[in-house]
Symmetry: C2
Subunit: 432 residues, 2 copies
């Protein structure tokens, strides 16, 4: 029984109770959302030591950080340090996207050290293993892929990213339409290469029922990856993207019918004026399924600062209805992030998420800002730092940057204008 099927049968689960309590919303609201599929609670039945997280309509916007062993320089130890940095920075989820090294060992470690839901992308491991076993990922067998999916689910992974909507028809559409950048999804590149080489339809689409069977067995939440997500602003909302979104809507319906929790992954690269349309379209075609967007960045030129570009896109997307933001780090488009970039990526996404929660008037959102504003008015530095979105960074900056502002003022002399204003307006005396 999944959270979805339990909710449908009127059962209240401990996870629903925990989510309702954390979010400060009615338990019925959560249970009804899970039953309708507008809320998911990704929690594998085999997963231990997890603080359940609800993602969906009416709940606070969540953020996810991606890590993973990549290339010869990657190590499990290095990626565990990134997980710890991301968790300390307040991520609500970790995706382990390892593509090399001992992928099984990394995943087990991720599940052990992460207190949040964990997601993976099984195709990466299937491709790597086929490369090692057959000398080419193109020789991967369909059963190999499903074996990896089941293996990852059996380990306790809470949500699986699967490119089930990237059908051959859609690949042809992308070819016909003449995209600027035809393909940026790393997983979809491998999948489509395999499909073209083997002249076969996408097995994750053709055998979608088999995907759903595994997902139902472990209550894994399916995260439908958009293999055709545009790779630049110029390709945003093109025919291939929209046609795939239509298919994703079909797959949402079928997952729900099978009692499987489901969410949908989104772009990527979207200009400001297409963000709302993108989210509205997904909400309509995918029947209110939670939308997990990848940033999005709002310009192609911000390499080195894509966490900022993504914070702009994430804030507007979340305000428009996206409920889950995949972080983008400053080194996106240039290389892999270091610990500081992981940390700042998570915080940038949390700022986007919270600013949207404020705009949507979600319970508790405005109270946080109000409390900090009162501490600011009272010049209560300790409380301001405690309430900052990243207290460690705020404390550091205050310590290193405030020399000039803490030494008092010699400007006004005996009669201080600030004292006059304080008396009249009830302002705390500011340091000049």
């Amino acid at each position: 029984m999944t959270q979805l099927s339990k909710a449908r049968s009127g059962e209240i689960t401990p996870e629903m109770e925990q989510v309702a309590k954390k979010e400060n919303v009615a338990l019925d609201f959560v249970a009804e959302g899970v039953a309708a599929g507008t809320i998911v609670i990704p929690r594998n039945v085999k997963r231990k030591n997890i603080d359940p997280v609800g993602i969906g309509t009416g709940l606070t916007t969540k953020v996810s950080a991606s890590i993973g062993v990549y290339g010869k320089e990657g190590s499990i130890q290095g990626e565990v340090a990134k997980i710890q940095a991301a968790v300390e920075a307040g991520t609500h989820s970790i995706m382990d996207l390892s593509v090399s090294g001992d992928i099984d060992a990394m995943r087990k470690e991720t599940l052990a050290v992460t207190p949040t839901p964990v997601g993976t992308l099984p195709l990466y491991q299937a491709v790597a293993e086929a490369g090692a076993r057959y000398g080419s990922s193109l020789k991967m067998k369909v059963d190999d892929l499903f074996e990896v999916i089941e293996r990852q689910a059996a380990d306790g992974v809470d949500f699986l990213a699967l490119h089930s909507g990237t059908t051959m028809d859609i690949v042809k559409r992308a070819k016909q339409e003449g995209r600027i950048d035809p393909l940026v999804s790393y997983g979809a590149s491998h999948l489509i290469g395999w499909m073209i080489h083997n002249e076969q339809e996408n097995p994750l689409y053709e055998q979608y029922d088999r995907v759903l069977e595994i997902a139902r067995k472990y209550d894994v939440t399916v995260s439908l990856a958009d293999g055709m997500r545009p790779g630049c602003l110029a390709d945003s909302l093109d025919a291939a993207q929209v046609q795939e979104m239509v298919v994703l809507g079909e797959l949402v319906r079928r997952a729900r019918e099978a009692g499987v929790q489901i969410m949908v992954k989104g772009p990527g690269h979207v200009p400001l004026n297409q963000l709302k349309t993108t989210v509205m379209l997904q909400k309509s075609l995918c029947k209110g399924a939670p939308y997990f967007v990848f940033g999005p960045v709002v310009t192609d030129v911000a390499a080195g600062y894509d966490h900022i570009s993504a914070a702009i896109g994430g804030a507007i997307s979340a305000w428009a209805g996206a409920e889950f933001l995949c972080y983008v780090t400053a080194s996106e488009h240039l290389g892999l992030p270091d610990l500081e970039q992981v940390r700042e990526g998570v915080v940038a996404s949390r700022i986007a998420a919270h600013s949207a929660d404020l705009a949507k008037g979600l319970p508790g959102a405005a109270e946080w800002d109000l409390e900090l504003s009162k501490a600011r008015k009272q010049l209560d530095w300790q409380k301001q730092i405690e309430l900052a979105i990243d207290p460690k960074k705020a404390e550091y900056m205050r310590r290193t940057r405030s020399e000039e502002t803490t030494k008092g003022c010699a400007m006004c002399g005996k009669y201080c204008a600030m004292d006059v204003v304080s008396g009249y307006l009830g302002v705390s005396k500011q340091v000049c």
Copy 2:
């Protein structure tokens, strides 16, 4: 004759020509905008060595960086380094907001080293000098204030920030309304303290014609500062802010009647869902005068990351019609920025500005992104770095973060999935 009066009489100035060329718009469009007051070209007739910048409707969004000597630790040398960092990062304007030290010397240095328009806030110097001369800024004489305004204009400052709209009525309104944070404008705090202590109306309002006379003499653009700008999200769009905006509209009209170029300063702290309303209200009340917003930050809790919060607010504001973004640095609310924070503050504002220009479809905006996207598809790293918004940072990150991605791929073996996709979709071979 100011740019405004020349435009009205049908005269085309070299500044209008330079702006039209840089912006890739018709000369008539610029001239008509200047005549209508929807475009300003801040350039003091005494200013030398300046590359004129147009700010207003239909032109690309501009950003401004504030520097200034502050406290005992501040130095002219340190602030010049910040100007250079800001200019290198692509700022379109510098504001010298010095409040201590040799303010005259700092301003002269700023004007000498800055290739962009320069703005100042004369009240700071008037307050500092009154403190030194009379033992209290509260004893400042009205003539002292106007003498400083004239001195700064005569030095060649291109735009002057003046709190002419902060009348006693509005201060009373703020008191009655019970704001969370009654006052955050440093200049307005001194001004209001003076007004209350001396039981006098704001001289910058009462003697506004005298302000306009100086501005007209030097073709200084007046930047009407919003002394009552809210200091937290909870106070946004409150009665004091809106009442002041009504007065600012009156002052815009009077400036235009006097042939003086004018723009209006805005907040500050605005939740996502009030950004568009704030800009629309200013556009309506202030009759299309360029809007110079301070960020705005979209949450109160992002201390340490306020440049990111401000990029979100700036992008949406600019998309809604604000034409000029005052940068906010990461150390805002905590202390003064260092060189790196100045640099990142400018770039964050430029990302906001450019993402809005893309959304507005301004000439040339999309071409930049398209060119970079093509270079990205072709894996042309040199071109990607050249086209990045901050090439220096992009080059550094590529160099330090790409070890894993440049060493080639051992995943697929002899038959590479990427090769298959490349052949079919025309994708450049990606490094796996």
